[in-house]
Symmetry: D2
């Protein structure tokens, strides 16, 4: 299939590589010449700009840092919408706000293109291994059409509802994740302060009502889970600044919906403190460092 | 075995019944004559007071509402410590603060009695079915000695460390639980406000990084989990006021340890608001009602 | 002086009226024909659009609901910047984010126009009476040039520093105001719950270290301050939704500055709850209703 | 007048000195022999214990660190209530919880002694200078009787209502104070991050709706108020750990009253973090250090 792939960052580059390995023809576009060169070395073709990439595409795939980039890539001068043939599906795997998705979907629909929000979880490790989970907002017929391509980049393709619901699912999950991790950090820190062995406490929590991914798979105390970021100085994993971005999107979406999220808002501020103190690129479980004596 | 059993409330009465059914001789004590009568009808013997109950006991078991009651039962006039023979283990299954445990353990040790904190999870349903989990603070030799008796009231007997660590484990788990449930409430409420189907969202969370007991087993949205309290008008389950008690103990223990718990403290205040508005006896997942239009 | 005045809402209309009364010639512009008609009845001239209003202006004055409107009025098609003569000062009294001010100031500077942020406090009452306080970001020479005009709409003209600092001063003041009012609400509610007379408590606070504008001038308990909004069912005053807008700007500005504001963020969520429950147009001191039994 | 004075710490010692200077006869009691020696050198007489001090007193005055000490001094073995003649007023200037006041007042009333809660503000500086403010819970007739003595230690004697209301007033004021100071810290920190001059911002706040004691008299930014603790490295003033004690009392009193105080609870945790990081003995305005890059 002829695919326009725009955005070759830490996530996009390995995703594009997996599509190339699956035999697709890719025309790629990025702000970084080095990223384009690397993709072309793997068999991709260079596009001058998004419009150029999309002009003969059978599918458009974007993976970009934030909503402003997504708007520019689709609606800017030399953007995708300026050239893409009617009927071609536009799939955006960036994590952005639901309002931008709605606006882009409207603009795309006016010229006959279905817009699909398909944010991912799984991080750079999942992008490389092709084990991402895609949370997809698309009608069932469209999903059936694009699922085979997504499955070449990921292990799970989950339909969340119609356009926009993919982002909603990701924001809601990560809002809960951000809160849960701080809950684990407070519980493990209290246990340590009161003298219980951390490994024993983690074991009890993991078989009790407190159990959650943050305690079981990504426990923030070093040494509890061997391959968790905490056990390698919080390197790798899901960075504090990425969690901050998602919590910001969740809090903003709640603002627009006139919904109060006191714990979500406090969680956002808590990660911001970590970021301010220089931990922005560490795994978000490093938030537990705030509970230490020097935190 | 001759057992002194003090405290025949919603939890203690079925626990005592299970010990009687296992063939032990129980001398019981409670403020409620009706509770004593009920236990005696099942084969227990009435004691005049805790000292009377403990005077010839081979094991003392207490299950009381709060630390003040536990102190009175052990150290008050006609208390357990006034009569209990040296060497007899004293097991308290109440949920109380670690400082009281430490003080009682010291007083007991001075007269040769090991004091064991063994708070439970599983609620009144688990107490009746004999499926409680005991979180036990005791040295390994002592645990081996008392475990068979605990196993007649529960399914799991978990050693958390030496005396005091049972309470610590319970407080830490419930601190995390209280925070997680609010996290789920905020995530599910945001999803609803943004238009994703609640069942779909719960399914995504339960297979993603947000997964936790509060989303999977006790989801606060009615109808998501068939046998969760939310699906029966928040009746049964673990009451808001009981969660408040445990969060209060956790926040107080953190005070004593000079540890800041911002999310734990905010969670406590959040459940207090639910209690103030009349939801104190509903399951703690009813906290999600605060996020509704009339909450 | 020939003045372009754009934005004739609850604040802008009386401000324009005061300028007309002072003898200036105004060309006005608004989305509401009725608002334009009313201004013209007072002596203003109708402009077709912002560019038309600004084309022969000696001063441009804007008073708009939010940043998006301000950007459109200055930079949109038929915007002020399309026609305004070089050298003419552009004064915006809207409350908007510092980043938008910086961007507009840059754009204006490129064509030789000084841009001044001059948000106000004092509300619609102050706008009508001409007693507003202007918090102005402008260099001293420019301030001297425009101060006489501002003084015809307000009582105080305070220089906060160079361009952008007017908005910063307003956001910081209102961040503190929003937090203080909740502090007063919690203190007065606690006092009531503990049985002290509210008038006595307010008197003690007002002569002690807790004293603040929110307790002394705008006490949220009805009947404490005779002419406070609380004493007239929270009508008039500074609405919950306006406080929400300003707290949102403050929290967003802190995000951009990578600064954590835990109490500010929690305060925003607290007012949002009031708004969700239907109190958005009441004075922000109505936040105390959350602390009542039905709140 | 023959006065029993119990508690000669940082506050009690200078208060006792002022009473001696006013010509009263004092029998004093403290755990520290050095403190007793110092008072005796100023003319006081040594008492063996509280009962001894109170046995011939015309007035009993206590100034102690916490509720446990107050209970022990009045109700313990050799306590005040064991010897004090009926009718003698018992005045406690410690800051303690309203429930303890109520219990002591009951016990005292049963043997014919009026109990007065009279906590102070003004700190050690006010205690030495005799410029304290007393917040007094007492009926008007009793207040008239004791006011002359209190006036020898302070400048203001404020009746808050009947017994117990003195503590309530102090807790409510300090709850608000603790929140306001963090509000000022957030506002000043945001202003600094956004580039406004701190002195200018403080000036605007102090003449606007954000004005409060914490901004005007005790501004947390060094150099804004010459004689504020912030301008002398946060030395002197009202310590973080004392604020923590009072916020703990306020939050606990709200618990007992089933009232949620989200901002108060978060403020307590915020000061606890300062204390944990070693700032417990600095003025509470040092909480602003948390907002710095290394905070």
């Amino acid at each position: 299939m002829q695919i326009a792939f725009i955005g070759l960052g830490n996530m996009g580059a390995p995703m594009a590589a997996n599509l190339l390995a699956a035999g697709h023809a890719l025309r790629v576009c990025d702000l970084s010449e080095a990223a384009i060169d690397a993709a072309c070395a793997q068999g991709a073709t260079r596009a001058a700009n998004p419009a150029d990439a999309a002009s003969d595409a059978e599918l458009v795939m974007t993976m970009l840092p934030a909503a402003a980039h997504v708007r520019a890539v689709y609606q800017g001068e030399h953007g995708v919408l300026a050239s893409v043939p009617a009927g071609i599906p536009l799939i955006d795997s960036s994590t952005i706000d639901p309002a931008t998705v709605a606006a882009l979907a409207d603009a795309a629909a006016r010229q006959g293109n279905p817009f699909v929000d398909a944010p991912v979880s799984g991080g750079t490790v999942g992008a490389q291994a092709g084990t991402l989970t895609f949370m997809v907002g698309a009608d069932p017929a469209l999903l059936e059409r694009i699922a085979p391509v997504l499955a070449q980049m990921g292990r799970n393709v989950v339909r969340c509802g119609d356009t926009g619901t993919g982002q909603v699912a990701k924001l809601c999950n990560n809002l809960l994740l951000g809160i849960s991790m701080i809950g684990v950090a407070e519980a493990m820190s209290l246990g340590e302060a009161l003298g219980i062995d951390a490994q024993v406490l983690a074991g009890i929590i993991n078989t009790s009502t407190g159990r959650c991914w943050s305690a079981e798979v990504c426990n923030p105390v070093p040494g509890i889970v061997a391959n968790a970021p905490a056990s390698r100085a919080y390197r790798g994993g899901f960075g504090v600044d990425l969690m901050l971005k998602d919590l910001g999107l969740a809090v903003d979406a709640a603002r627009a919906a006139r919904l109060a999220l006191p714990l979500g808002a406090l969680a956002e501020q808590t990660y911001r403190r970590s970021s301010r103190h220089g931990d922005g690129s560490l795994d978000f479980s490093s938030v537990i460092r705030q509970y230490g004596d020097a935190g």
